[in-house]
Subunit: 111 residues, 2 copies
DNA sequence: TGCGTATATTGCTACTTTCGAATATACTGG
DNA sequence: CCAGTATATTCGAAAGTAGCAATATACGCA
């Protein structure tokens, strides 16, 4: 595979490599949401959320469309949720060992 | 989903967020390889490869086993290749935009 | 036009990542 | 034990990333 394609893959992973941005993608699973709604659900600073949305936009993981006063965000391609689904299986298969190793995460994530 | 689980996901994505590390995972698709073989195929500095392997090890994406003089690396879970496969479909679906973006990047860089 | 709401950008600082060079560790054969 | 090969770690500089506070931009409405 070409270097530049691998570079591009790496950039997509990098874009997903932050808890807040993963949360955003998960929130968009079921359809578009305005930025304000995302900020409310994320419970973080507006500027911070906007920066993370900017990262996802720049890698074209999300699309945005203006609607009056608001900006609606949506997943560019639902295939990305498949990535997260496969990852979920990975995490489920290995979370026990990971918890033991990282030692720090508690017991709340049983779903 | 819990914050710490999302944190964990983010760390795995982060571990994959480098072209060299993606190349390593792809090289390990078909079975274990000794570090030396990986270095040879990657065509990079030994120290650099070792650092990337260290990242993959620390996130338990690869496993290593000593065999005499050498260290064999393998994918901890082949499910990861599924992630890359889904990603491949994602890239194929958007290849036109991707190549356009890459072209722009190259043009930028050559200025 | 001017105000209020929604979102984006900028400036700054702290922290992390990457790389090559140098060095260290581990194992093997003689 | 010693030399040689294989791999890992450490160091320092450059580049990139994250978060906050402040500020800017865009829109709708009176």
């Amino acid at each position: 595979m070409s270097d530049s394609l691998r570079q591009f893959k790496a950039e997509v992973f990098q874009a997903l490599a932050h808890p807040t941005r993963i949360a955003i993608v998960e929130l968009l699973r079921d359809g578009p949401l305005p930025a304000g709604k995302l900020i409310e659900r994320l419970g973080i600073e507006q500027a911070n959320a906007s920066q993370h949305l900017s990262v996802l936009r720049s890698k074209q993981i999300v699309l945005n469309r203006k609607e009056g006063n608001q900006v609606f965000y949506s997943l560019r391609d639902p295939i990305l949720t498949e990535v997260l689904d496969v990852m979920r299986r990975y995490f489920q298969a290995h979370i026990a060992g990971t918890l033991a190793t990282l030692g720090e995460m508690e017991r709340e994530e049983s779903r």
